[in-house]
């Protein structure tokens, strides 16, 4: 038995090459769901065969905001709410990059909500992974724009009375080309979703419901992170293709998961190139895929 | 040239700023002088009375705005009423004679040109401002005519150069019909 244990620990974790192992242990709490999401993303990235040198992660601030610092990719830990515009500049400055935004609900649709809707409207070429734990984790359990009605948070001590966003509906109605929601219990579906989204273009949005045991579960007396995973197990309803108007999340009610939208729509860059080619003809000089860097040696 | 202050005014769409631009360009780029143009911005520039100012000089223009204009070019009566008060004693009002009734103080001079009618006769009402510009060039003789023509040629939309130069020349010719052209003497120190 001891031999078996030694074997397991000696072997490198399958996603270790994607992680800055020198930064482990990470700051996430025991039973936090973010690590699982990173594992699924890294697995999908490995399976996709994309050039990892061209893959970048941009995060905002918060627990999920730390993903950019833990993945062994070009990683940018930007300011609170600004991951999407930062990523927009990075992508437009060097269009060949695969740019993924990893951040939380408070970051991307609270303080960064305006950027979220405009990037979706533009169908900007970004994969946006939003880890939704229904609460502000890093700052200590304050109310989020995703906190379900009646759920408790440290700034809504008598329960939340603000209506939350239904994020798939928000993304879909703003024009995202790919919209899915999974919980971090559905690791296979989530991994497939990442793989699929990496292969698509435009604004791809994946919401991942993840447990926050330290704050959301504690403030709402929902038990441990494991209890939340059990809750997902019992209450997730998979409805691929569901109308996003019907996927709201109520407090401790069923969570509709699935791929809600997967449509090929012209992306920001495609529309720009096509438009300028049409209006300017040969005069149009697009930015090269490798960016607008002007080299000293040239 | 000593510092000469000019204001051009009219209503939106008359090409007020282009007149200022061409005079300034002619004097600074093509005649080697210094010319600072400021156009009015803000709500008033989007609506009716629109204006541009110019300070021309042989030396660098240090004060950017006009305070006592030497010459007021008015293409609308509203603009004329608004700005004629800042025209200095002995100053010159150049106006669209069909649209503006010149009300100058004693000692100030006024001369007009029916620039809109002339432009219409050329088939394009739009070149009214260039007729006015030609008239201005002829009446004031501040800027060498060749510099003005060069600036017109380089400032108007490609393909319209000939029409605009014709408009310029018609305005100029109108200035040369003696009666309408008062002497500039006294306008400049």
């Amino acid at each position: 038995m001891s031999t078996r244990t030694d074997d397991t620990t000696a072997r490198e974790h399958p996603i270790a090459p994607f992680i800055r192992m020198e930064r482990m242990p990470h700051i996430w709490c025991p039973t936090c769901g973010i690590g699982t999401v990173v594992k699924c993303y890294a697995t999908a990235l490995a399976d996709s065969g994309v050039d990892l040198d061209k893959a970048c992660v941009v995060s905002g601030i918060g627990c999920t905001g730390r993903v950019a610092g833990y993945m062994r990719l070009d990683g940018f830990h930007s300011t609170h709410g600004r991951a999407i515009p930062f990523a927009t500049g990075l992508k437009l400055g060097r269009p060949e990059l695969l740019v993924t935004v990893f951040s939380g609900d408070g970051d991307l649709v609270g303080i960064g909500g305006n950027h979220f809707i405009h990037a979706a409207r533009r169908n900007m070429d970004l994969l946006v992974v939003l880890v939704n734990n229904f609460i502000y984790g890093m700052t200590g359990g304050q109310n989020a724009p995703t906190t379900p009605l009646t759920a408790h948070s440290s700034t809504m001590p008598f329960g939340n009375f603000e209506r939350p966003f239904s994020l798939p509906h928000l993304a879909a109605s703003c024009g995202a080309s790919y919209v899915a929601r999974w919980t971090c219990l559905q690791v296979r579906q989530l991994t497939w979703a990442f793989a699929e989204a990496i292969g698509r273009k435009g604004f791809r949005f994946i919401e991942v419901i993840a447990p926050c045991s330290t704050l959301y579960a504690r403030l709402n007396k929902l038990g441990s992170g494991l209890d939340l995973m059990r809750f997902y197990h019992d209450n997730v309803e998979i409805r691929n293709g569901a109308d996003t108007r019907e996927v709201d999340i109520g407090y401790q009610e069923k969570i509709v998961c699935g791929k809600f939208r997967d449509e090929e729509r012209p992306t920001y860059l495609e529309l720009m190139h096509e438009h300028y080619r049409k209006t300017l003809g040969d005069r149009y000089v697009p930015m090269p895929p490798e960016g607008g860097l002007i080299r000293g040696e040239d | 040239m000593e510092r000469t202050e000019i204001r051009i005014t009219g209503f939106g769409g008359q090409g007020v700023v282009l007149i200022g631009y061409i005079i300034g360009r002619a004097w600074s780029v093509h005649a080697g002088g210094h010319a600072t143009m400021i156009q009015s911005f803000g709500p008033e520039a989007r609506g009716s009375a629109c204006s541009a100012t110019l300070a021309l000089s042989d030396r660098e223009v240090l004060y950017p705005y006009v305070r006592r204009t030497d010459i007021l070019v008015a293409m609308s009566s509203e603009g004329c009423e608004k700005y004629v008060g800042e025209l200095k004693d002995g100053g010159l009002l150049i106006h669209e004679s069909d649209l503006v009734a010149p009300a100058v103080r004693p000692g100030q001079r006024a001369c007009g040109v029916p620039s809109t009618r002339i432009a219409e006769a050329l088939g394009r009402r739009l070149v009214q401002n260039i007729v006015m510009l030609g008239f201005f060039a002829g009446v004031t003789r501040l800027v060498p005519l060749e510099a003005m023509r060069e600036a017109v040629r380089l400032s108007v939309p490609a393909g319209t150069e000939e029409l605009n130069l014709k408009a310029f020349d018609q305005g100029l010719a109108h200035a040369e019909t003696a009666a309408s052209a008062p002497s500039l003497e006294g306008v400049k120190p």
């Binding site: 990075l90 930015m287 002007i294 | -």
Partner: protein, 385 residues
């Protein structure tokens, strides 16, 4: 290296300051601009938006100035030279990510065509009251560079200079224009590309395995790696070590912040730039910048007619402030007179450096117009007595 000819509109033009600034950016090699419309700066991006598609540049109108500045920081990490343009209210929103650019040591240029404030103030009229905000506007300790053009010609020249400084020192460089210069049309000479010196991004020559993003090797400015070249580096707005990894200790904080300040402070002699006239035997020196430096010369002329020995010092680069030069002058002049279109901002720096050795007279103006030269003259006469 020399400028990329595609961005250089060589010739003698009649341009306003905003257009000239846009031309300067394109000549400097700027190929990404993100912006949000705001008077009186919008003409800069209108100019760029019209010409960029023909030179491999991308302009995007973002949803606000927070996003514009964030996009510029992101784009800079792609290696593409980039800029954003705004005015007072937008400048306030940009402060957040100007701080990020300073912290991540991201080369970029921010143009502020100053209008009168506070708040919405006088959107179409001149002000110079963002000078202290330019230096101190984002939270925390950092240093950056700000230049102040006095004419459309300088809007062109100094915008190129701003790009070059931002590449050299890896800081955001602010072009602190004012509405008057931005909206004033004058002759602008754009030289041939071969005569325009531009500083390229200083990319590291080290292989990824030997590269640390914030290692300086004795210099004050680290070498750059751009995203997508296989370095797999990390950077963050958190206090970080040479690897770019967050380190939450007072020691790392002290080291990082000190270098952020030192790279400007210790190079101030090279970066600071003033233009002086007749300061030699002067009793009074007028210190000014931007449009006010032109109007001030009229005031100086009037004072000279009345027998005062007066010189002028113009801040071409306002930040870092030319401390050493003001100290030298303070030891031998009677007084400094500082007209500016605010209620007294850069005058505080002059006072600090004069340190009581010379009198310092502020000539404030709340904005909406330039000074009356006679007011400046009166201040000079008063200071000379």
């Amino acid at each position: 290296m020399k400028a990329d000819p595609r961005g250089v509109l060589t010739g003698t033009h009649y341009l306003d300051g905003d257009f000239a600034c846009g031309e300067g950016a394109m000549a400097a090699g700027c190929r990404f601009v993100a912006g949000y419309p705001i008077t009186p700066s919008t003409e800069v991006v209108e100019r760029i938006g019209r010409r960029f598609p023909m030179m491999g540049g991308t302009f995007i109108q973002m949803e606000d100035e927070l996003a514009s500045m964030a996009a510029v920081v992101g784009a800079s990490w792609s290696g593409t030279k980039c800029m954003t343009v705004t005015s007072g209210p937008g400048f306030s929103l940009m402060m957040e990510n100007i701080g990020l650019a300073a912290m991540m040591e991201t080369p970029c240029v921010v143009v502020n065509v100053q209008r009168a404030g506070p708040s919405t103030g006088l959107p179409t009229m001149v002000g110079q009251a963002d000078m202290m905000q330019a230096r101190w506007g984002s939270h925390g300790d950092y240093a950056l560079i700000a230049v102040c053009p006095r004419s459309p010609q300088e809007a062109f020249d100094l915008t190129i200079h701003a790009f070059n400084l931002s590449e050299r020192y890896r800081v955001p460089v602010l072009v602190m224009m004012d509405e008057c210069v931005g909206h004033m049309t004058e002759k602008v000479v754009i030289p041939p590309a071969a005569e325009i010196e531009v500083v390229p991004r200083r990319l590291t020559a080290r292989p990824p395995a030997e590269f640390l993003p914030y290692q300086t090797n004795g210099s004050l400015v680290p070498e750059f790696a751009r995203a997508g070249d296989g370095f797999r580096f990390h950077t963050t707005g958190l206090t970080h070590d040479e690897r770019g990894y967050p380190v939450m200790t007072p020691e790392c904080q002290a080291k990082s912040v000190r270098r952020l300040l030192d790279k400007i402070r210790l190079n101030a002699g090279e970066i600071a730039r003033v233009e002086e006239e007749d300061t030699g035997g002067a009793d009074v020196v007028v210190v000014s910048y931007g449009i006010t430096s032109r109007v001030a010369r009229l005031g100086v002329g009037l004072a000279r007619e009345r027998g005062v020995k007066v010189g002028t010092l113009r801040l071409v680069v306002a930040w870092p402030f030319p401390e050493a030069r003001i100290r030298e002058l303070a030891a031998r002049v009677k007084a400094f007179v500082v007209p500016e279109i605010n209620m007294g901002q850069m005058v505080l720096e002059v006072e600090r450096c004069a340190a009581g050795k010379a009198a310092v007279v502020s000539v404030p103006h709340a904005g909406g117009n330039v000074h009356d030269p006679e007011a400046i003259c009166q201040a000079i006469l008063g200071a000379a007595r």
